[in-house]
């Protein structure tokens, strides 16, 4: 309870203790909730300025003038109590929760605590326990469904990045990720994934840097949603802020609070199981091949290759598709395992059957261990907390792991009554190994979902790899025993890929700050803080000698990830260094001008310097010595490294004034002036103001007992956003020389006249609670316009450029957010709480540049693009579509029964924005038991599946092998009654299927599509729009049951608390529409969403957690 309350703000009322005729009163102030002492409560002699604050245990001693007989005892969030003094000199006071108080004090921009009721803008809190009960590698994922207005898109990559957007995408091409702030200090959330990775090419998802934050250190999170709430942070907070308050030395009322030193040990383990609804099921009737294309005459399902001079039947190992021969256990054929002498089936024919162990057996059970040990102490002169966390995860893929070791410490020292020093720091080492590849190329799951043979037994692949440590693939380019070079053609042995071609990465990071607070007078204090966030990160990627060639090394693009040449082996490393320094100086004043008026204000200065450097180096042409991964082990001359150094600085000055009237009306105004290094000098200084008002109308309705609290709020803000680094001056690219130096004009034209982006936002809200806070809601409406967007406008290259940076475009985001809270049942032993969050955001691209009505955000394999189109929501998918007749029927090609497909690919085939998102948490408490579960819902949104696009055409899925309307296998050939007269129709033995639609002559379609070869399904016969799915889901996101051992049982041992928790995360996808994958699966965080290819299945995770307090 209220452990985040910062004591210095409670010490404003320490009065002078006048030597006068007086008596000494002692006592203790406790909370009615739990009976614990309240430190920092104010005890004032009514009608005077004489007073004191309670100590760490809630105790106080006060000299009271003889003629005064009443004490006023107050504490934030509690009802102020008047105590009539009798003759007793010992006064114990029990304070009750203020009825008008909803959630007490929250941390707002710059780390300033404010009473929530006084705010004129929307914020929403999540307690740390709600984030740390479930241990995930990225605490951001645990926010999904818990805050209205937030959209969290986690993906299934191990340690992968999560996309987190508040109230819609405000910037067309800039960073739309929220800003993370820990204890008032921004932390870097850089995503270092390559541009190839984000466009589904080849690459790994290295996660987002905010995932270094340890969920066990989080006391609570406050989400600042709108521009008015974040205005003091200036430009970088335009997308919203997540304010994180870390745990401090325990105060009274904290669970586990104990006088003196407290020790908490929390440890847990979690095991995952593949959710089979998010992974393909395979047809079991047909094996390798694309059709009857093999054999000496090109008309058979199998090849004929001599073994020891005798012609034998061979499975076409070159084909990564399953449109081949029907399985037949009596048919003996030579398969991939007949090729290598190490195999038990070497030069042996084996039955032609579906694999006993399909791809799902490839996955391992991910196990996560998580342990946190913390020590805290609160003493007269301050408090401290020291914590160590170890997180150790073994991933779903073989040979993958993620470990984190984090040490953090913070402390506050009350040097004198007026002077407080505090510091905090956290050092983390995060190591990843064997992260899964993402995207189309070089990704095992692409094979599993799109390109494979259903006859390949995964266990056999393992056995042979395990036995030989060689690349004995199922996909030999040429299995002919007469050749000696058994190299793979498209896919390596999957285990070879995992155990030889793995990446590793490590990030060593420190962030922390030191702060000094000096109380000049009782209404003014000066606060100075210096903070740093710095890390070094290395990413190393390997390809072992003997692997298939894949794009590797350094190609074009600023990060060298595009148009790379195919290399069969190699080593690549990326080195990153990052540092950000913030210097803050703030003067805070807080004064009651009269009985009714309170005035608060801040005057501050912020200086920020951010340095980021990246160096990418790689071998070229392969590795000279197999197994040695170093740059000097390159066969060819090293390619030109890619080096980037960016420096960004912002100097800000800000002021804020808050006026409170009778605890009923609050007015806030802020202004900030930023000077940014990334804009041209004449545009680099800009201002943005905000005003907000809160009106607690329930103050006027004191008689209405049913109404516990009611507030109206309204605010307006304008936030500016500068450009990114280096957008003003044109540079040339330097290219690997060819006999002589080579340069080229950069593809993107920069702009030396940029102005800052502007976001204007208007927000209103209503917050009410009823029946002693048993029922309440918080409702918000907002409308945001972001104008003057700084964006790279994609151009026809006939202009000589790919894009140019312009200041144009406007996006509107308007939306509704609703949070409902109810306590249907509450008594001494039992409580039931419900929290429902619901939000809906409409985004609309209002304008781009004159004459331009579309901005391409990304282009993906399959011919699908993601776009911002004028008049449409941000993020519409373009692609080919069906051709419709005037009545809206799909038109069929009469020659082959296939759908007619548009030749244009600028048809809108999807919108990646959900219609709405919501979550419902139910919590039950019965004595020492607690149960809670969260249901998370997304309605709408589109996702394009490249898996289905290709996987149907390569015949993997049951949708390609079923019994057709005539009762025949659909893959049987088309048979006419009379081959010379098609008007007589089809024979009863015919295969094929009939598409729903009409022929050009208006007839209902009756022409069958030939499905006997790989042209029969998937991308060859359907438009892009056929592969766009509704991303709706309903998920049981988490469920936890905990039991706290009653304190009475622990009295005789040194342990003060034991809590046992059983948790399940993502145990059940209750509803979804997209087949074989998780609707949340995607590429990585960023603006490119709505596309899935080769994603890992998701897992249901079950675990338990033990927490001891000493």
């Amino acid at each position: 309870m209220r452990k985040f309350t910062i004591s210095l703000f409670l010490m404003l009322f320490i009065g002078l203790q006048v030597a006068y005729a007086q008596r000494s009163i002692t006592g203790k102030v406790t909370s009615s909730e739990d009976g614990a002492g309240l430190p920092g409560a104010t005890v004032l002699v009514k009608g005077t300025t004489v007073g004191t604050i309670t100590d760490a245990n809630g105790a106080f001693t006060l000299l009271v003038p003889k003629d005064k007989e009443t004490l006023l005892v107050s504490f934030v969030g509690m009802k102020t109590k008047e105590i009539a003094l009798g003759t007793d000199n010992v006064v114990n006071v029990v304070l009750e929760l203020s009825v008008q108080q909803l959630e007490g004090v929250v941390v707002t921009a710059l780390g300033i605590p404010r009473e929530k009721k006084s705010l004129g803008y929307a914020t929403q809190e999540v307690q740390g326990d709600n984030l740390s009960t479930i241990k995930t590698s990225n605490f951001i994922n645990n926010l999904s469904g818990k805050v209205s207005g937030i959209q969290v898109q986690s993906n299934t990559n191990m340690g992968g990045s999560s996309n987190i957007i508040l109230r819609g995408n405000k910037s067309l091409t800039g960073d739309n990720q929220v800003l993370f702030v820990i204890d008032g200090v921004p932390v870097n959330n850089q995503i270092t994934n390559t541009s190839s990775q984000t466009q589904a090419g080849v690459g790994y998802d290295y996660g987002n840097a905010a995932s270094d934050i340890n969920s066990d250190d989080i006391a609570n999170i406050n989400v600042l949603k709108g521009a008015a709430a974040t205005a003091l942070y200036g430009s970088r907070a335009a997308a919203g802020v997540i304010m994180i308050t870390t745990k401090k030395g325990a105060g009274a009322g904290d669970s586990g609070y104990k006088k003196g030193i407290g020790v908490t040990l929390s440890t847990g383990v979690d095991v995952g199981f593949v959710d089979k609804t998010t992974f393909p099921t395979y047809q079991q009737q047909y094996g390798a091949g694309y059709g009857k294309y093999y054999g000496p005459d090109g008309d058979a399902y199998f090849n004929i290759i001599k073994v020891n001079g005798v012609n034998e039947t061979w499975v076409p190992t070159t084909e990564d598709a399953s449109f081949g021969a029907p399985f037949d256990a009596n048919l003996m054929v030579y398969q991939w395992d007949a090729v290598d002498p190490a195999s038990p089936n070497y030069q042996k024919a084996t039955p032609w059957v579906a694999a006993a162990n399909g791809p799902i057996t490839f996955f391992e059970k991910p196990v996560t261990w998580n342990t946190t040990l913390s020590i805290d102490n609160t003493f007269n002169k301050g408090n401290y907390r020291l914590a160590y966390t170890n997180f150790d995860q073994k991933g779903l893929m073989p040979n993958s792991s993620l470990t984190k070791n984090i040490v953090s410490m913070n402390g506050t020292w009350n040097v004198t009554d007026k002077f407080t020093a505090s510091a905090s720091g956290s050092y983390s080492i995060v190591k990843g190994k064997g992260r899964n590849s993402t995207g189309y190329n070089d990704n095992i799951v692409t094979s599993f979902r799109q390109w494979m043979e259903t006859n390949v037994d995964i266990k056999e692949q393992w056995n042979l790899y395990n036995q030989t440590a060689r690349n004995l693939t199922w996909n030999y380019a040429d299995p002919d025993p007469a050749t000696t070079d058994y190299s793979p053609i498209y896919w390596d042995n999957y285990y070879w890929t995992r155990y030889q071609n793995y990446e590793t990465d490590q990030r060593n990071r420190f962030f922390g700050n030191v702060a000094l607070d000096y109380k000049v007078t009782k209404w003014l204090d000066i606060y100075g803080r210096m903070s740093v966030d710095t890390y070094y990160e290395i990413q190393e990627e390997r390809r072992a000698v003997g692997s298939i060639a894949t794009p590797f090394g350094i190609g074009s693009g600023s990060d060298g990830s595009l148009t790379r040449s195919d290399q069969q082996s190699g080593y690549l490393r990326r080195d990153f260094t990052f540092s950000e320094y913030n210097y803050d100086l703030m003067a805070n004043f807080n004064k009651n001008l009269s009985k009714s008026f309170n005035l608060k204000g801040i005057l501050g200065l912020n200086i920020r310097r951010t340095n980021f450097s990246r160096l990418i180096s790689s071998t070229n042409g392969g590795l000279a010595v197999p197994g040695l991964y170093s740059l000097q082990n390159s066969i060819g001359p090293l390619p030109l490294s890619k080096e980037l150094v960016s420096k960004v600085g912002v100097d800000g000055i800000y002021a804020s004034v808050s006026v409170g009237f009778k605890n009923m009306v609050y007015l806030d105004a802020t202004i900030r002036r930023d000077h940014s290094s990334t804009l041209p000098p004449n545009n680099s200084v800009y201002y943005y103001p905000s005003v907000s008002a809160g009106f607690i109308f329930s103050q006027l309705l004191q008689e209405a007992k049913w109404l516990s609290f009611g507030k109206l709020r309204l605010n307006y803000a304008q936030v500016g956003s500068p450009a990114q680094f280096d957008q003003l001056v044109d540079n040339y690219n330097i290219i690997t020389p060819m006999n002589s130096p080579i340069t080229s004009v950069a593809g993107s034209k920069k702009n030396s006249d940029l102005k800052p982006e502007k976001t204007n936002s208007l927000e209103g809200g209503l917050e009410m609670s009823f029946l002693k806070n048993r029922l309440g809601f918080d409702f918000a409406l907002y409308n945001t316009f972001t104008t003057n967007q700084i964006l790279p406008l994609v151009l026809t290259t006939a202009t000589g450029y790919q894009s140019k940076i312009i200041n144009a475009g406007e996006i509107q985001n308007k939306g509704i957010e609703l949070t409902l809270k109810a306590t249907p049942c509450k008594n001494k032993n039992f409580a039931w709480d419900i929290v429902i969050n619901w939000s809906k955001n409409y985004s609309k691209v209002v304008s781009l540049l004159d004459g331009v009505n579309n901005l391409q955000l990304g282009a993906f394999q399959g011919g699908v693009t993601l776009n911002a189109m004028v008049g449409q929501p941000y993020g519409v998918l373009y692609g080919s579509d069906y051709v419709y007749d005037a009545n809206g029927n799909k038109l069929i090609n009469p020659a082959n029964g296939k759908y007619q497909i548009t030749t244009t690919s600028n048809n809108i085939i999807g919108n990646v924005n959900p219609l709405w998102t919501g979550g419902m948490t139910n919590s039950f408490k019965y004595k020492n038991w607690a149960l809670s579960f969260l249901i998370d819902i997304q309605k709408g949104g589109s996702i394009f599946s490249l898996d289905m696009y290709y996987g149907l055409s390569s015949g993997l899925y049951p949708e390609t092998a079923y019994t057709n309307d005539l009762g025949n296998p659909v893959r049987n050939p088309i048979v006419w009654k009379d081959p010379n007269d098609h008007s007589k129709g089809y024979a009863s033995t015919s295969g094929g299927y009939i598409n729903e639609g009409v022929l050009p002559n208006g007839q209902t379609n009756w022409v069958r599509v030939n499905a006997s070869t790989y042209s029969g399904f998937g991308y060859k016969v359907l438009p892009n729009s056929a592969f766009v799915y509704d991303a709706t889901y309903v998920k049981l996101r988490e469920i936890s049951i905990s039991y706290s051992v009653p304190a009475s049982l622990l009295k005789k041992v040194f342990i003060t608390g034991i809590t046992v928790t059983a948790v399940a995360s993502n145990p059940w996808i209750i509803y979804k529409k997209i087949p074989y994958t998780d609707p949340e699966s995607g590429l990585s965080a960023g603006n490119l969403q709505g596309y899935t290819t080769g994603s890992l299945p998701s897992t249901r995770n079950f675990g338990f957690n033990l927490k001891f307090s000493f």
């Binding site: 040449s565 290399q567 069969q568 680099s684 001056v729 002589s740 130096p741």
Partner: protein, 484 residues
């Protein structure tokens, strides 16, 4: 308090004094480069694009059925949108070639050289101009009307498409001007020129050969008869005159400067292409001595002693890689050269010019024979091979079948191996050999590439106008010069 105020003041002063905007400087990439280095890159990009067999960029070898695909048959069946082939071709030529050439010319113009003679700078600019004209000619020959007068200007994001014929004639005029400026007494771009190492004599020959071809491309347009005559006849005396003069670029041993055929066929480890039966059968019929330099052989025996032969995969259908002839090893070598104009082609064009009645000297048969000899010699054959081949009545000019269109068209098809684009253009011009689209083809054999689909969204109004002007944005639309 005073100390704190002092600190605040110092911070403010510190922040105000330092020029914050200086932080934004990119300290790793240049803001100024030489025009020569831009030229080198543009030239390499051009050769790469004209030569690569990457299915995302260049599939012309399949349009004239030199090669076909093994498993993934989209491109062999003229699906040019599954992979954005028109867009990639357009992007490379506009953005990676023309923009760099234009910037190269701008920088060279404004550079003060310490060269011994001002003629060198003039030569440099003329060489850049010739490379530029060649690139534009490829764009017109691919698409028809294209953005030209308003192109390469980033301030006009919606450039209009100009009429193809007007552009083409302007290019010929620009070529004439450049030829007039070249002074063979002096050098030009030197080592920055990987085609001729700055040799101006060779650049003159290339420019004249290009002019000859560009003139003949317009030869079927009656209204341009006199313009064509002037162009062809003024070009003929200065054209490429031996295999030593050909316009080629020799690749290096290490990526990324390797032969694109090596990159896509060897380094990739893929088995996507085999020789097409259409070309292989035709060359087998004539026992063409170049087969050994074009293709590998396969064993066609069913038992016993191997029987090696050149066998092409069935065009447009699935083909087992190991059953058919592949691209010959020398063409796949990392250092094999790429070519944009050769001597054989020049002589075939002269033969055509004679047949069309232009006074370019010699007889059609002489030029035809010289062309075939040059081609066989270039690929590695002997004079005896050439003599034997020419003695075949189906090859000899006097006795070979058909009109000059068929005779020259057939031989150009054989000679322009590994040069898909030129092969495609000459096939469109001569209408020979007679090629048939495969059964699963999405369209007729393309007569042009459609405009990149992105033009529909990025430059829609101008795209629509151009599409109408050329008779529809389809692969079946005949371009202005393709009259038969």
């Amino acid at each position: 308090m005073k100390k704190i105020l002092a600190f605040l003041t110092i911070l403010l002063i510190f922040s105000a004094c330092k020029k914050l905007e200086l932080l934004n400087e990119n300290t790793k990439d240049p803001t100024n480069v030489t025009g020569e280095s831009l030229f080198t890159g543009a030239q390499k990009n051009l050769f790469d694009q004209m030569t690569t067999p990457n299915v995302n960029f260049n599939i012309w070898r399949m349009f004239t059925q030199q090669w076909t695909e093994t498993t993934y048959l989209d491109e062999a069946n003229y699906n040019i949108d599954n992979r954005p082939i028109p867009l990639n071709h357009w992007n490379v030529l506009y953005r990676d070639v023309l923009k760099d050439l234009s910037q190269s010319a701008t920088i060279i113009s404004s550079t003060s050289y310490l060269d011994p003679d001002p003629a060198i700078k003039v030569n440099k600019l003329a060489v850049v101009e010739i490379m530029t004209v060649y690139t534009w000619s490829v764009l017109v020959e691919t698409f028809g009307n294209i953005p030209y007068t308003q192109a390469l200007n980033v301030n006009n994001v919606n450039p209009v498409y100009d009429d193809g014929l007007t552009v083409y004639k302007d290019l010929i005029n620009r070529l004439n001007a450049a030829i007039g400026k070249l002074n063979p007494a002096w050098g030009s771009l030197g080592t920055a020129d990987n085609m001729y190492q700055g040799d101006v004599t060779n650049w003159l020959k290339f420019a004249n050969s290009l002019k000859l071809r560009m003139g003949l491309l317009l030869a079927d347009i009656p209204s341009e008869a006199s313009f064509v005559k002037t162009t062809v006849e003024s070009a003929a005396p200065g054209v490429i005159s031996s295999n030593a003069d050909i316009a080629k670029l020799v690749y290096l041993g290490a990526q990324p400067n390797t032969n694109p055929v090596y990159d896509n066929l060897v380094a990739s480890g893929r088995n996507d292409f085999v020789a097409a039966n259409t070309l292989v059968d035709s060359m087998n019929n004539l026992a063409d001595p170049r087969r050994q330099f074009y293709f590998t052989q396969v064993d066609t025996s069913t038992s016993g002693t191997p029987k090696l032969a050149y066998v092409g995969g069935i065009y447009g259908e699935s083909n087992n890689f190991f059953s058919y002839s592949h691209v010959a090893d020398q063409i796949e070598a990392p250092t094999f050269e790429a070519m944009i104009f050769d001597y054989a082609e020049t002589e075939f064009l002269l033969a055509e010019a004679v047949e069309r009645g232009f006074s370019v000297g010699g007889t059609a048969a002489d030029h035809y024979n010289t062309a075939i000899k040059a081609s066989i010699a270039y690929w590695g054959g002997t004079e005896a091979d050439a003599a034997a081949y020419l003695s075949n009545p189906r090859v000899a000019y006097a006795t070979a079948a058909g009109t000059f269109r068929e005779k020259i068209g057939m031989q150009l098809w054989f000679a322009l191996y590994n040069r898909g684009f030129e092969s495609w253009t000459e096939w469109r011009r001569f209408d020979y050999p007679l090629l048939v689209a495969p059964p699963e083809a999405l369209s007729v054999i393309p007569l042009r590439l459609t405009y990149p689909t992105t033009e529909q969204t990025l430059n829609g109004a101008n795209w629509a106008a151009a599409s109408t002007a050329i008779g529809g944005d389809a692969v079946s639309t005949k371009l202005f010069w393709d009259k038969n």
